[in-house]
Symmetry: D2
Subunit: 376 residues, 4 copies
């Protein structure tokens, strides 16, 4: 627990340099102990990896919207989390500390990031190559102990070996970056992102990453729609050609005007707001495609006849990221410098200052907030 | 006008046998003369084809739902039809009677069916290979004089030369049959219809044709949902494995039960009813695809989060048919006998008995109703 | 070893009925003991499943062309098999007899078929969803002990649980049937098999299965090309519309003549003969697709300019089958009766009569030859 | 003929500014008069556009490899050109001077570039949306009088209206630029160019354009292979990350080494050299795709088993460009500045100095050579 923090913006040294000293028997873990807002940083035993599992020493863990729901114990969290107490957090990067039996590929010292969707490999969805929608999905930090801790246990196959050119804190945002890659490449699959006008609706971290991704993938122009000024500024930094404040300007008109009236070929919906989804259909070009990642909490009313059917538009539901095709694509985008996600990482806190971290994450003036376990 | 009717269930003789006698100077035409319900069968001059146009001697013309709207002069028709009087009808088959200048491919005697979407060829949609969503679309029998008449004029490129193995009355239903082919093949594009469970929602003529088409295309099983008993019986004749009466049975449960709980890979929505569209999303399997052809008159509320996003389902708007890829596919399906559409053709009337024909078409106890112009 | 053989053309009883008696300590295994033609049926210990592995009681095992190479010890086998002695055979169906540790899905009594490609799950190809081209592939009966034996050990995830509607002997041919499904669906992916003319070049068992598969998947017509009369007759039984003897008739001309000169949209190449591959390109339509599964032993000369480039044809290399999307598709095709593969199964022998079985398999007058281990 | 040349690197003024003065009755035309090397610049009557045709005042015309074949009268040209004398040249940009009857979209003064493939619109290929492989294709400057002249006649639908942001000389290279776009986007269709390593084999003008296009479309890295030093330098200017001289270095090894041994996901073959095509297959990654545009004059020997089948590689024949989807994509790439093709335009000559122009074009030290008709 007295470990020195690693510099986290530098490339990570190779495995040979990273021999692992023995780990202590206890660790700190940020745990949800009671069905109410807040969390406690407790000392708990370091878990032992079972067959096919690895123990990861966490170096950076970023806060997801889901973690905020859990921290604040909103109705979704109250309905979803079954067994308290539980350690939460699922956006994790670190080093393999120890391996259980039947681990054949990763060795101690390996630099890894967590794919938090633990899949069975045997259900119909898994067998069809859609493991990210596994019928028996278990989620890190939601269904079992997560990564806001000094150590975390994961199945070996859920620990993605990270390219050493990727800095530690960037490694911890693979999960939302992968959402963005999967969303962008789904919607650009049939036709191509190259030469298309792409609109990103909602500039939370995933939307912001998506801007950088479609920018690097040959979009003709990228238009971001976001009411929060702080985030609009981040959108510009990530490469948006045009940033629309929907409280000041009709985003449908803005997109039409930027496309000679034709509309956008690709819309990436990241807001989960019903009226915004409706607007998304209205800004689609004939033959356009909208990928839906944001989760609207209520039903959504759409003008299917004029905005979808007569236009022959396509709406694609998107969740998670492909296991592990999206990770391979992320490696390329992040390790070669095609996309620089660092402007989105706006705050860093040691794990002990988790309350400040969650406050920042919920403030509307943050991109990605990262917890750095060692710097206690 | 004294012509003998052709036998219409027989293969059509070759062009050599079909030399064209001179046509009269006047003809009968079913015209909408006043903005009210009904229509008049009038004597009018036979039109003259201009450059790039052909004059077609109509042998069979089938009644579309659109024609029923026009006949009944419902609000849609009142809002859509600009200039009366006008001859209506757009599902037409017959023989080329005469050609204008600049016609280089069709000769008198050619056996043709009408593609009623007249496209410009120069707008962005046309240039992108999407002429069926042309920005300057003009529709036969809606924007200019149609085919419930002895003769009709069309651009040469809108007159599809029909395979002589296809009988005359079948030739007249290319338009709705093409809607069905386009809908089925759009939804089966990404993955394949072969091995998929396909649900057809709504068994009007287009839904009925779709049943035959996916049946011939290797669907694992075809489930048809339709409240009208007459149509459910036609659905069975067209090859549905299971027919669901939604007034008696929950169609979502019926589909789940027929698929071991997984849901259907492909749903073809032909009803245009908002609640049915919602049900369609609920019966989709993970990764499933729903093609939307029916036109809901109002907005539609959908549970996007659970029924589209978490499932990674896809919704495809579909309109018209591809020009002319769908026609080539239709030729294969109809000329080789892969699909027999004749059970759907339930009524035939001479043009003079048009009132009975429209009554039958609107009765709920009809499939396709065909007008046979010559038999006066 | 004194077990009664099961009736193998009947549906398989459910798992509840299949409680497993203890197995003996030794078993028979057909082993390649020396680098020369032939094989020996020996008594060896029944292997013990390790972590993540299952022990399968073999009920039916079919002979593949690869097994014939091994039996005859041709140059390919001599260069490929490293460590003798080894039990060979990889097309296997049976029941789970026992499970190792870390087996969480299959229980004793489960009815399974072997996917013989053991993949690592961690290499780039596996991570991209292409486990069947894993960079660390190990093949059952080639790289480790196979299934011409009373029992065989496999990783749990390589034991596909078979639908109980599929008879035992059909279960043993999943491997080559899967090659055929994968080949057919690859070539039909971009456009569709429905409405296409499909040519199958070479009617060994995989080609014969492919005929049934494309027949069930909505092909307009299926043309089979095969010099061997016995196989041409099987091609007809599997549903080929036209069967061409290339020693009597030019297959390129035959295809052109059956397609009004346009050529075939889809060609499935199963022969591995250089001149036949060249012919395959010549019979392709503009925009046509040829899937290559047969393995030519030498380089192949092609007229790329006229037969591929100007036609915009596409050539798709195909190997193995998708893990496990193809298996899901097979389950549909076989369990619902869409394809009946039994005409291809021409011979059945007890394991003890393996010499007759290999003679039949190599005779040119056999389809699939199946070994039935218990009937000793 | 005494017209002032336009500045050709500036944006083109709008149609309103470009009112057309009457044209003279005769013009200069570069004609092939005899079946031997060379050509003559002759005075001939200005042609008159027929129905559906436009007369274009040529402002820039670039020299294609085909024109070099014609100029040098090599065996291909001798076998292909039927009727002499004929004006050649097909890469043309200019302004509509006059219109025939039945021209409804273009007006005099319109800024246009020529699509030289005149298609029938009625054959099976055209009807399937593949007009660029029309069965009745007629080529500008090969089958009828071309554009190395002051004026040229084209069907209206073959005159693409050019975005005014595109300079005149760039407008004249739409044809080869479109080959490059079509080749790049075909090979990137199934998977995506974004994140892929792309190899361009052969850096003539089309290969050079392709480098810029995949660079702008999100390729991870672009590797160009070309023996000619002058062209290798242009490849760098167009954005190649790595340029390989195959006379000094094994290009297969170079690609493997740049891809951690995996090979390239996408190879664009522009050389038409048999040994280079074979190398192309050897540098493909598992699941990789090679687009073939270069036309090998003889058959090509390939190791299909190891380089295509076991890798599940795909070979795509490519010719021409899609009518007119590719043109729309070009407009985006060129008008928005995504790709700057001007480094490839290395020489400009007035039409009268055509002999120097052809010498430059054939010298191996040129990219694109452009003839500027007015500057006489």
């Amino acid at each position: 627990m007295g470990r020195e923090p690693r510099a986290i913006t530098e490339p990570v040294p190779s495995a040979e340099d990273a021999a692992q000293p023995p780990h202590p028997s206890t660790m700190r873990a940020l745990r949800k102990t009671r069905p109410e807002a807040g969390a406690e940083l407790l000392d708990v035993p370091v878990p032992t990896p079972g067959p096919g599992e690895v123990l990861i020493r966490v170096e950076a863990a970023s806060i997801c919207g889901t973690d905020l729901h859990i921290f604040n114990w909103d109705p979704w969290a109250a309905g979803r989390l079954k067994d308290l107490p539980m350690t939460f957090g699922h956006e994790v990067a670190g080093f393999v500390q120890a391996t259980g039996s039947e681990v054949h590929h990763l060795r101690p010292g390996a630099f890894v990031a967590a794919e938090g969707h633990v899949f069975c490999g045997f259900c119909r969805q898994c067998r069809m190559g859609r493991a990210h929608t596994c019928e028996n999905l278990r989620i890190l930090g939601v269904d079992f102990d997560g990564g806001f801790a000094d150590y975390v246990v994961l199945p070996e196959r859920n620990a993605w070996e990270v390219d050493r050119r990727i800095p530690l804190e960037v490694a911890s945002i693979h999960d939302p970056f992968g959402n963005a890659v999967h969303t962008a490449f789904v919607a650009g699959g049939a036709a191509e992102i190259p030469t298309s006008t792409v609109v990103v609706l909602g500039c939370g971290p995933i939307g912001l990453f998506a801007i950088g991704i479609v920018r690097a993938s040959g979009a003709r122009q990228v238009i971001a729609v976001e009411p929060n000024e702080f985030r609009r500024n981040l959108a510009k930094q990530m490469g948006a050609d045009q940033v629309v404040d929907p409280t000041q300007e009709d985003p449908v008109e803005a997109v039409r005007s930027a496309t000679e009236g034709h509309g956008a070929e690709v819309v990436l919906e990241m807001s989960g707001v019903a009226t915004v989804i409706d607007q998304g259909t209205r800004m689609l070009a004939g033959g356009g495609r909208m990928a839906l990642l944001g989760l609207p909490p209520e039903t959504v009313s759409l003008d299917l006849t004029d905005q979808v059917i007569f236009k022959e538009a396509r709406l694609y539901g998107v969740t998670g990221r492909e296991l592990f095709r999206t990770w391979q694509q992320m490696t390329t985008l992040l390790a070669t410098g095609m996309v620089d996600p660092t402007p989105v990482i706006t705050h860093r806190f040691p794990l002990a200052r988790f309350e400040e971290a969650f406050e920042a994450a919920g403030s509307g003036r943050a991109g990605k907030v990262i917890l750095l376990p060692p710097a206690s």
